[in-house]
Symmetry: C2
Subunit: 422 residues, 2 copies
């Protein structure tokens, strides 16, 4: 007998017919002897409908008072879901009880609409599990220290599920979603992209933050921090798929030291076309130059991603970085007026038509020559590399946007990602 | 400065446009210097939509476990309403905060879908009022001793508003609804029917229980018990109606000893065509005969309304009573098989085509001849009276259903109800 947490997205909960199928799937796990906690999202479209009503009344205001009420309103979508799923389970002959976040309680801070989970009391849930019940808990929400309802922000139900699994020390947390796992890269760009049977947390974090949209990044961080075994799998398989098959489907996100990890050097290719590149040429190279350039950018609340500063010649250096494409114009203006004069830069150039392509893999730690293999593959396709940045388990290059698909395909092939590693 | 509770029904909350109007009306009261607590219902149609979803999953089951989930689901309708109204108030420049029943908390028993309020903690609400905020509280719901959400049953928001007013010792509780007050009788039957500017609790209770549908009867009982001044008034007046005018509109439900009470002997005519009459003729008149007849009826969970037993002749008597028309066939069967043989009744006759018409008035206590004036008026119209029953402040007659409208009109005229009393 294992303690398992299931999470179902809004599409899976989109109609009473679909909720009935979720209930049948959960019942299958219960009948196999497992203890189940289920965290469903709101029925698809419901959160948007609710927030739309609020927006009609207050199109622009974002005071804490309005945000508090938004959470009061939006949290009801999940409350309806858990009640309906509990009824569907009871109709299947499975004992079940539903709880809103405040009933567990799931304690959060008071950052309305984007709260963070602080602790989860497991007593009530454990008592119900011990009594043979399936416990259905609202995703996406909690209660702050003053007893107000909070929500975790879009995609927060993934985080709720992982946090509940962590609090209960669950054996595994299964995220049922509309993709059947994590792929070596986006199959829309590389048809040969292969589903990974497992991936490490660190790789998953890099993949998630680099643009792969399978899991909310915070839920992956949470799983890593509390060492929750996390599996992403398809919610579109028939509910009566044999349990053994279902239990091993999708992608397991696990720890490096776990057994069964694939031994590939590179696990996947991530990409991101939302960035823009900015360079200050010939700035005076003296201590404090980086903060002199990036300080005003940070003060304007603009996130900087890649940062490159090369060695200097004749007391001058070139300084480059990337920002989100939406912040490009604002950043250029800012630099022109507040930074160029102070730094003695001889030129300011920018390019919003770039993209970032990265290879990600735990194996890069112990293998040499991985980056050069990347550069060679790109060079063979005639792709010019504009910037390079590396971390322990990834290497990213900034290239012209128009080469993105070509680069991803070339790298996928260069690292043999279409083939299952031995 | 007064502390006022407003209650708005589902129609008033039916769209964001209407919610905005409710907010403007509440803001008007706040700007006049009053402290306001507002109890809105769910947006019209929402509770039915939510319960409809649940019904699709569990058409028949009514176990306590399912009922608990129904409350979990149905209570969200009001939670959305309070959040939206709080936002609309903030947009009007009025400080406001919303609470679900469990946040106040409004403590109830655990009778899911028809819970009763047991106590209301006023601390949190008082603190917000003292801080200058309008407090918006969900109607229709509370929390049971184990922390589960409960609902009070249909129309429960009236009761919530009155209970909140009682807990806060509010100066007045205003029920904004789609009628503009309590009438001497149904204006659809008597066009001359007149709105009462005030009515006593006892009269209102009799009017409510006799078929007048203005207020949920439990809310009136609650108001009587805790001496809450209750006013029923129209939600269809413009929001910018001068406050003094609005504050004195509708019907005040108050205490007999209050000043300003109308001094009419009869305040209104109530009627009910949902009843059926049953008579057992020539039963042996001996001690225990009433319970011998009505015991099996009560055991079958059938409510009995009017009960009449006349003096006996030759050791035999006739025993009559009325039940809800839906229970007529079942009651007749029951009597035939289980009661007639044991009581030696010589005949069992029934009539489902009857109605009950009642005159209600506190003044009947101190005036003689009121009932005979009623009987004379009916007699002048050639209406035969089948049964008579009286209480301290009402006299009811059972007559043929086809005479109902005629009887109501004749009585309305006989007691000069179209004229405001001196």
């Amino acid at each position: 007998m294992a303690l398992i947490v299931h999470k179902y997205g809004g599409t899976s909960m989109g109609s009473t017919e679909r909720i009935r199928n979720v209930a049948k799937r959960v019942a299958k796990w219960v009948r196999a002897g497992h203890q189940l906690v289920v965290v469903p999202s709101a029925m698809s479209g419901e959160t948007n409908r609710l927030l739309g009503l609020a927006k009609e009344l207050s199109p622009n205001v974002t005071t804490p008072e309005v945000m508090r009420e938004l959470d009061m309103i939006a949290s009801t979508g999940e409350q309806v879901s858990v009640g309906l799923l509990a009824i569907a389970l009871q109709t299947e002959g499975v004992q079940a009880v539903s709880y809103a976040g405040w009933q567990v309680p799931i304690a959060t801070d008071d950052a309305y609409t984007k709260a963070r989970i602080q602790s989860i009391d497991d007593q009530r849930v454990r008592a119900d599990l011990a009594a043979g019940k399936v416990v259905v808990i609202t995703g996406f929400q909690g209660i702050d220290p003053d007893g107000h309802i909070t929500t975790l922000g879009r995609g927060g139900s993934d985080t709720s599920a992982v946090a509940v699994a962590a609090a209960l020390k669950a054996d595994e947390c299964l995220i049922y979603t509309d993709v059947d796992g994590v792929y070596t890269t986006d199959p829309r760009i590389v048809p040969e992209a292969r589903r990974l049977s497992s991936i490490s947390f660190e790789e998953m974090l890099e993949m998630a933050s680099l643009g792969s949209k399978v899991l909310q990044i915070r839920s992956v961080e949470f799983a890593g921090k509390y060492r929750v075994r996390l599996r992403v799998l398809s919610s579109f398989t028939p509910w009566d798929l044999p349990l053994e098959e279902e239990a091993h489907s999708g992608t397991l996100i696990t720890f490096e030291e776990d057994e069964n990890m694939e031994q590939a050097v590179v696990s996947g290719i991530a990409f991101n076309r939302d960035e823009a590149k900015i360079s200050l040429l010939g700035v005076n190279d003296k201590p404090g130059i980086a903060s002199q350039i990036l300080g005003p950018v940070a003060d304007a609340n603009i996130d900087v991603d890649v940062i490159i500063q090369n060695v200097s010649h004749d007391g001058r250096t070139d300084f480059s970085f990337t920002v989100h494409r939406n912040d490009y114009a604002r950043t250029m203006d800012l630099l022109k007026t507040k930074v160029v004069p102070q730094t003695g830069a001889v030129d300011l150039i920018g390019d919003p038509k770039i993209c970032k392509v990265s290879i990600v893999g735990i194996g890069m730690r112990s293998h040499v020559g991985v980056a050069s293999r990347m550069f060679r593959a790109l060079s063979e396709e005639g792709i010019n590399i504009q910037m390079i940045t590396t971390s322990e388990i990834k290497t990213s290059v900034v290239i012209d946007e128009k080469y993105m698909e070509l680069a991803v395909r070339a790298l996928h092939k260069a690292f043999d990602l279409e083939q299952t590693p031995a």
